[in-house]
Subunit: 268 residues, 4 copies
């Protein structure tokens, strides 16, 4: 008996229906990053056991927009681009675990189902959203990647705008920011199917890129606004002070992570 196959559901005899192929997954994309400081208590309240606030600059937040093309190892999705292209916006904070600093995505919105599925696997707490980013272009009115060029980035979900930013490039920079620069410490959680029981899945994992290439990062000036919505708490990460903003084009591969511990988050 062959059994059902497929990296993800739906599992079938061939595996050909799986919403996502098995890793490695490859990505080409552009990133708009805006880093700012919020009240560290607002970061701390998003960190379950055994995570703690980062030692330095614990209130730092990165709000990142990304415009991706992604694929599995066959790369076939790239030629049927409805299956490759997606955009996302996500908020990253840092935390401390066993004396080491990690990044952690606390909110994220994407616009395709395969991206949601990868998020379940990687511990990104994904919802659907409507994400837009100005794209650089060598001709016409769209911006080049050069000093003075401005890029807009917006996020909406459930028909409400949640965030918008405009960044204006200043000069080549040494980094693309520091908040999203560590390995990610994420939880993978799923409730028990039985009422009142403990979580069926409660894993703390570490994950990060398997390979990375990138163009010159640019530093930028930024305007950022966050908006309230009845089912969102992004705006609780209030903007107290802008740290910096960045634009960068990257190529990334992802190929699995590491299980750190299980059953310890104390999450409901």
């Amino acid at each position: 008996m062959a059994g059902v196959r497929g990296y993800f559901h739906p599992k079938t005899a061939t595996g050909g229906s799986s919403l996502i192929p098995s890793p490695p997954w490859h990505y080409s994309g552009d990133l708009v990053t805006v880093e700012y400081r919020t009240d560290p208590a607002r970061v701390a309240e998003l960190l379950p056991e055994p995570l703690a606030l980062a030692d330095e600059d614990p209130g730092a937040v990165a709000l990142i927009w990304a415009d991706w093309q992604s694929c599995g190892s066959s790369k076939e999705e790239l030629l049927d681009p409805v299956r490759a292209q997606y955009k996302e916006a996500f908020a990253v904070v840092r935390c401390s675990y066993r004396g080491k600093t990690y990044s952690r995505c606390v909110y994220i919105w994407v616009d395709k189902d395969f991206a949601i599925a990868r998020g379940f696997h990687q511990g990104y707490p994904k919802k659907l959203g409507s994400i837009h980013m100005t794209r650089p272009h060598p001709y016409g009115p769209a911006p080049r990647i050069e000093a003075g060029a401005s890029f807009g980035a917006t996020l909406a979900a459930a028909d409400r705008r949640l965030a918008e930013a405009v960044i204006t490039l200043r000069e080549p920079a040494e980094t693309n920011g520091f908040v999203n620069g560590h390995p990610m410490a994420h939880h993978r959680w799923l409730p028990s199917i039985e009422k009142g029981k403990r979580l069926a899945l409660d894993e703390l994992i570490e994950t990060g890129s398997a390979s990375f290439e990138a163009g010159q990062p640019w530093s930028a000036d930024a305007e950022l606004a966050l908006f309230e919505a009845p089912t969102e708490e992004l705006a609780r990460l209030e903007v107290h002070e802008l740290i910096g903003a960045y634009y960068r084009q990257v190529g990334v591969s992802w190929d699995g992570g590491t299980l750190l511990e299980t059953g310890t988050s104390g999450a409901e």
Copy 2:
């Protein structure tokens, strides 16, 4: 220390960002059901250990379209209907487990993220799709629920049409079909975050309605067509013989299920 809260991700201090509230979940909706026979081998290949083909009519399939409004116990989603309304189309087969007959959803497409999240929890292998159903209406050209009335139902995903049906109501019926009439035997699967390791989650669960009310079911004549697509295998469940078709309006509540066994599916 309060810890993070929320039935689903993202978990926060308040729990207010959770993509879905804790059960019970309540649904109002209309169902178009088309039942047909396919090659039982095509059903068998979708049943992992320890499930087996149903004893009677093992090649029976129900393809069901549903137009839902759903909510948690606060019912607040109903008044912000972008958060309550969704449509879905799904294929159900039957199977046998420990001498008992179960229904099992083998493919399903929905059009909202909260429905995808509920699917992860309930073991429905959900993807995003574009689903449309004719709605009954008491005035104008749309059909009433009465003999001779026709309803169309269509499904597309990734910009390709996958299925379409037209049903024409014949007469009041005793049932809404038999394929989706049993408790559901579903798997909840998630790969390990570590490459080459066994599944992190491999649960066989039983789930079904906590309460159910419904109007008069109607039997119907049907035309049904399934279409090929590069990432879908619905059309492998070829239509060999139509069994029947049905229209029914229902109200349903869901409030959890039962864990049957773990680690036994042998799924990759």
Copy 3:
């Protein structure tokens, strides 16, 4: 030579590509109506020559949500419902023309292209939007059409929420409101393709239903909020005083209108 055919573009040898069929067009739908008073000057500024403010209650506005299924005389769209179903939200005021009171739609958002095309023809100034309305249902948590039942209605465009209402049914009513109860006085405008020339099309037309059937209207209490957006002016029609709210199910046919005059609007 046969020439190209089709009621609308694209015109072809067969006419089969036309975005809309020739009238009559038939509609089944539900209407949520909220009527309120704004500053009459805000209404007057939307009325071009030769229209003037209505004599009575000139600041009255109706904001209406509609959930439609529509079709041409073949009714084939109803069985491929992606081509039949659409939702809209629109603001209606009244005006006076040659001593007679007309209704006039000043803003409208729809969610399908065939509805946009019909709007060009009928003088409705349509944009795309995301429109949602609670639907009545006989089972489960969704409301019945009965006293105490609440319905939500929301409008967004370009990822921003523009309006939201909740109405709670009070009792059967004699009417469905008065603002949208007159023939429509609409303009059909199109700029010249040549810069600096006068409008290529500047028609004042009268249009209305060719036939109408409807269920019992219900009066309702309402909450209504309008929101600012950079490319929208709906919120300039500020809510000074709520007049009333209504729910009604209707069946409507449209079959052409009357040209009142041309070239007189003075519009840029």
Copy 4:
């Protein structure tokens, strides 16, 4: 009395609600072009009086995908990119008018309302569609613009795929094809609001770019497939022989056109 303002509807006191600003309009974008020969009779049947088949290669068709960012003279849309970005796919043929060769768009699908409105103005017979194109990128798995790089392009409307192409770049080319290289001869048509009357608008116009800059065109090998759909006739332009394929990045401005004649198309 100030009168209502705005280049397009809805016209208001400020003009700020207009679905499109007044020209000039500026565009940055990438073009995938596939040129092929069909039966010239299938082209001729799409050409109303007084247009005739082009003298040379009259069965030539260009199917073009474009991924645009566009704006008016303020360029503000670029920083709120949900208002600037859109994609389109369109079929172009050539025709002869008064001894001169013109290009003519016979079918076109776009994914934003402002693009539909510009189409009404410019005589492009636009419908809504879902359009996707692989985008070049300097890092990761997405293609660079270089020999051997492959780009996919797909079109769907009303939940059905209508066309898909894959092109593989061969070498730098002298042109981006010849079918879409002439001024456009388009009709602007609108039915009378009164049944049985002649068209209210029946204009033959000439339009083209006011300015144009572009990168190196690349020639490409191509695969192209067209699919049937109940309301579309693109597939009637059957692919008899591929001519060539091209990739090019362009910057374009549009600033009005010329009225050639009125009332002569003989269109229904």
